[in-house]
Structure formats: C-alpha cells, structure tokens
C-alpha cells in the first residue's frame, strides 16, 4: 500500500521531487532507452536507478547526466581570458551554466598576454576552491598560445601573443593554475611541438591538436607523442585548403583522435557535422560550445576591446564584415543540433556531450546515470529538436528549476 501511495504522489507531483529524509527520487524518461526510470539521490550521489511500477504514469521529461563542456571562453558577460575576471564572475558564470544544463566545464583561456594568462588561471584556481561551484570546474583548457600564427588557422587568436612551445613557460602557467590545466590545444607543426606534447602527456595533461596546419605526418607524430584530441574540427582552419593535403583528413581518419565539434548550427554546415559524425563515430566525437562570454546575454550590440559585436540569439557576428565572431550557444543547444542534423539517438547525443568528455578526462564520477556516480543530472524536454532544461541537479542538489 505504501508503494501505491508513493506512486500516487508521483502522478500528482509530476516532476516535483519526492523528498524523504535525505533521499530525492526523480521520475522521468531515461535518455538511454526512452523508458521510464526512477533515479534516487542521496548524499550527493546516485543511490538507486530503478524501473517504476508499470502502472505509473511518469512526467514527460528526460533524465540524463549533466552536460560537460571542455571548451567555453566565458558566459553571461564573464570572459575567462578578459582583463576583468574575478572569482565572483566565475561563480556567476557557473550558476548561469547550470541553468543551461552544463554541470561541469573547463573554463578556457585563449592565446593572450602571458601575464594575463597567469593572472586569470590564478583566479580560476581560486574559484575552484569555492565549495558551492568548485566541483563544476574539474579543470581548465588552455587554447594556445602555442598555435599556428598563420591567418585563418589562428582564427580569432591575436598573432602578437602566439608563441613557440616552451615547456618551462607552460609549467609556470600550470603552477599559476595550481595544476588545474587538464587540456591544452597545440599546433603539432610548430617548432618544438612534438617534444612539448610528449612532456604535457607525461604530466597528465590531455593534448588536443587545434588552430593548426599540420600535415598527416606531423599529426601522426603528435598522436605517437600522446595527443588524443582534435580541437573544434573544421574550425580554426583557413577557408581555402588543399583538397588532398590539409589538416582535416588525417584527424578524421585517425581513430586515436577524438574530435570536438562546435555543432551550434553556425560553425559547421549540416554536411560537415554529418560527415564528421559518420567518420569519427559516437565514441570519437565530443560536443563543445566554444561559446564567447556574450553567450547567455540578451541579443544586441556589445563592444569588446575595439570591436563592435552583434549578438543574435544564436551566434556572435562582426557587423562590419558580416562574419561570425564566435559561438553563443551552450552545449545543450548543440545536443539539439546533433539530433536535428544527424538523426542520432538521444543516447548518442548525450554520450558526446557528457559521457565521452567524462571518460577522456578521467572524471570518474560523472557522465553516466549509475549507482555511486555523482548526482549531477538534468531533466529536460525536447521540443522541435531543441533541448529545454527543466531542472538541474549538482551534487544531488536542485540548482535550477524552470519557472
């Protein structure tokens, strides 16, 4: 009878979690098989995953592990590479990301003045110690400054700050970051890159190839040195490249490379996304937002440095040149684009946005709904291939609920 009463409460309460002493039980549709599921949370961990009673009608929301974004430059006006970064800013960005279903992320610092990089890593390292948001930031991504100086390949990175790989210098950055740098994007073809990659890998940092014009041979050498990833494949690349010899084919063909892609609906065409996904497969693809700090702000005109930028609801543009300036969508949006562009299953889309980054970066407690894992979860609906976040749980606590 007790169980039946409980079930009755489920129907009444729909998505509202049932709280007993310390346990919260969420009722929804599993992202894995689209079957109803009950997920219990206790002391910040998942304590049970069960099939509900057959006769119970559950709420019409999906349950999935929280999303993990390993490349995000800023959010809600907080620029991780900017001059005004503060711990408070990082807290604000983290909480805003929770609303977008991102429970874990690597704040990404791009090619900048070395002192700025150090200063901002120190701020990020401080922010990680915050008990409320710290667990959402298991590491940082350093994108540059050891990348290609060539126009097109360097993308929006400023040429004057691009440098040759320097292990001692990197160690200083790592020290400022209190060993928080878990991912570095490097160009394999520049002087000293291969031994540098080897040292990074030996020190436990994941090396991703990006903003580069590496040949097949140079890419293979980097993989042999331990590089495991390709950064935002198809972007950070010149508009015109050789049809046979270019940096894209070797990264597509090499199964040792997991590629990240910006599937925001703008940075890659549908054909590119479909092709990359078919070539790499679900195991070797991860979704990143590469969002600029303007992401999460209301659309409009903004000034950054000396440039005027226009934020549309979806993407940042340079109005003068009418070209893309950067991404503005959290990866929850990219999950929807993957569903739309490739027709992949929700299970696969979530794997690319949560399970794969958790695996690649040894975030053992994350990326799956399983007993004993950290209770970082999202409840969401899918409306016209768009993910609408209804609730977000971090460490077993409700941190966001849609009004």
């Amino acid at each position: 009878m007790k169980f039946l009463t409980l079930c009755f409460i489920f129907i009444l309460a729909l998505m509202i979690p049932i709280e007993s002493v310390d346990t919260i039980t969420l009722h929804g549709i599993s992202y894995l098989d689209e079957n109803p599921v009950l997920v219990s949370l206790e002391n910040g961990k998942i304590s049970a995953v069960e099939q509900p009673n057959q006769n119970t009608d559950g709420p019409d929301v999906y349950i999935a592990p929280g999303l993990i974004d390993v490349q995000i430059n800023g959010y809600v006006g907080v620029d991780f590479s900017g001059p005004d970064l503060t711990v408070e800013g990082v807290i604000k960005a983290t909480k805003a990301l929770w609303k977008a279903g991102v429970t874990t992320y690597f704040p990404t610092i791009i090619t900048s003045d070395l002192d700025r990089i150090k200063k901002n890593f120190a701020i990020l390292a401080e922010a990680r110690k915050n008990p409320e948001i710290g667990r959402s930031i298991p590491g940082f991504h350093l994108e540059g400054p050891y990348i290609s100086p060539l126009a097109g390949f360097r993308g929006a990175h400023l040429e004057k700050y691009i440098r040759k790989p320097n292990w001692k210098e990197f160690q200083e950055l790592q020290e400022a970051a209190e060993n928080g740098i878990k991912l570095i994007t490097v160009a394999p073809e520049i002087d000293g890159a291969i031994p540098f990659i080897r040292k990074c890998v030996e020190s436990g940092v994941v090396v991703s190839l990006g903003h580069h014009n590496g040949s097949a041979e140079q890419i293979q050498l980097a993989v042999d040195a331990g590089a495991k990833m390709g950064t935002h494949l198809g972007n950070g690349c010149a508009n015109e490249i050789n049809r046979h010899h270019n940096p894209i084919w070797p990264q597509l063909s090499n199964d040792a490379i997991t590629v990240s892609i910006i599937a925001d609906g703008f940075h890659l065409t549908q054909e590119e996304v479909r092709t990359f996904y078919k070539a790499k497969g679900v195991e070797n693809t991860i979704l990143v937002s590469d969002a600029l700090d303007l992401a999460g702000l209301p659309p409009g005109e903004y000034v950054r440095g000396e440039r005027k930028l226009v934020l549309t609801p979806d993407v940042v543009k340079l109005p003068k040149e009418n070209v893309l300036a950067g991404a503005a969508s959290p990866i929850s949006k990219c999950v929807g684009v993957m569903l739309d562009y490739t027709g992949c299953s929700l299970k696969n889309a979530i794997q690319m946005a949560s399970t794969n980054p958790a695996r690649l970066f040894s975030l053992y407690g994350l990326g799956e709904i399983e007993v004993g894992k950290q209770a970082d979860l999202i409840l969401f609906s899918i409306e016209d291939n768009q993910v609408v976040i209804k609730q977000t749980y971090v460490d077993g606590k409700l941190v966001y609920k849609q009004d």
Binding site: V201, G204, K228, E283, R359, L360, Y364
Partner: protein, 254 residues
C-alpha cells in the same frame, strides 16, 4: 626471454628483468584484447594491483590498444578504505593506468560502499554481463590470487565476489610493500573476486616478478593443486600464461 616451459596446462616464461617481463606480458595482453575487439568490437579486461604489476601496467599503456572499446574491472579492494587512501586499489589503478588510457567503461569495486552486500551483488552482475577476455593477475607471497588467501580460497566458490578476512602473511606483504605505515593499519578484510570468477575468464595473464615471490612461484608450479597454494589452480586453466623474472624464478630447478 631466458626460458619457457609448460606445467600441466600452464605456460610459463622467464625474463631477464621486470621490465622485459612487463613488456612481454603487455604484448600478450594487447594481442588478446585486439583479437577480441576484432572479433566482437569490444573487450572486457580485469586488472590487478600491487607492486608486482608496476612494470606491466607501465608497458601496457604504451601499446596500441583502442581503449575506447575496453571495459575494465579489477580484482579486489580493501574493506572500508576510501578511493583517496594511499593503499586504495582504485586510486592505484587510476593513477597507474586508467587516467592515461581512458577506457570505455570502468567498474570500480567500492570497498567503502555503505551496503557491501549490494556492492558485491552489483559487481557480480556486471561481471556476468561482461564475459572477461583477459584477466591480469599476480600471485601473492602466500600463493593467493586476488585476495583468495589459503584459509578462504575455494575452487568451487558459488559466489563471484566475496568479503574475506586477510591472513597474516597477506597483511604482512601489504605492509612490506609499503602501502601502510604499520600492520595495524592494514585492513583485516577485503572484497575479492573468487577463484571461479577468475578461472572463468577466457585468458589469464599472470605477472610475478621479484625474489619475494620465488617460493610462491615454486609452490604454484610444483605443489599439489589445492587451496594450500591457491595459485596452483592456474595449472588447470586452458589459456594461462605466467610471466616471471629471473628472481621470482630463482627457486625453479633448471
């Protein structure tokens, strides 16, 4: 390799030093894993811990293996210690191999789970759902495999995973390898895969370097097959390779 021989069904080989031994075992495991991946698209692996596995694990992570297709289990874990404890086998495996190879999926045996019965039950079920292609094991100074010490080893154990008391020799070995400051700090109990759970694996790769293990190796190869020296059971497995170095093989007659 300095020599190789077969006793009952067990194939053994002796190598010049632990590194050579580790390389050979890693090549063996690599070929079995890649064979399984070729056949069914994925492979299931059990890893062991302890000082004896250092050179093998170091070599294994450098081999060309598609870890994205491999599900990993491990043999045992102490009761009641967290995965942050310096002697934790979970911590050991993360730091010595898993962080760097990032396998498809890892099943950790949580010795500090609030409900150990449930934990063992879940682990047993997961093992049953993942027929193991290769089990990498060692042999303890007392002849144990996993934590099946002589007093608790059972060749016909109905269980897959069980809670055992560790015998004095076993606890002294853990102290001797430097994992704990005093004997009192060595846990008295642990969770372990049982002997049938190990013997059910398709291939077993058993890595045993070091002088400390010479007697256990001698017993494994020469004693009557019984739980007095649990590792003797390996002689009845159809596909087991034993990797030794000259020190661990020093008591074997030429």
């Amino acid at each position: 390799m300095t020599k190789s021989f077969t006793i009952d069904q067990l194939q053994a080989a002796v190598y010049g030093d632990p590194n050579e031994m580790g390389e050979a075992a890693a090549d063996f495991v690599k070929s079995k894993l890649n064979g399984a991946i070729q056949q069914k698209g994925e492979a299931n692996l059990i890893l062991a811990t302890g000082a004896s596995q250092f050179s093998f694990l170091k070599a294994l992570q450098r081999k060309a293996i598609d870890w994205k297709k491999i599900t990993v289990f491990h043999l045992d874990e102490y009761k009641g210690i967290s995965d942050q404890h310096p002697a934790s086998f979970r911590k050991y495996l993360k730091e010595r191999i898993l962080d760097s190879v990032a396998p498809k999926k890892i099943y950790f045996l949580n010795g500090d789970a609030p409900d150990l019965e449930k934990e063992m039950d879940n682990y047993s079920k997961a093992l049953q759902q993942h027929p193991i292609d290769v089990a990498c094991i060692g042999i303890g100074e007392n002849g144990h495999i996993a934590f099946n010490d002589p007093p608790v080893a059972d060749f016909n154990d109905p269980k897959w995973v069980k809670l055992v008391s560790l015998d004095e020799d076993c606890r002294n070995q853990q102290l001797g390898e430097g994992w704990f400051p005093t004997l009192d700090d060595v846990p008295k109990q642990a969770l372990t895969l049982t002997i049938p759970a190990i013997m059910g694996c398709k291939t077993i790769s058993c890595v045993v370097p070091d002088e400390r293990k010479a007697e256990a190796v001698y017993n494994t190869l020469n004693e009557e097959i019984s739980t007095k020296c649990p590792a003797t059971v390996l002689r009845t497995h159809p596909n087991t390779s034993l990797f030794l170095d000259t020190n661990s093989a020093s008591k074997i007659a030429d």
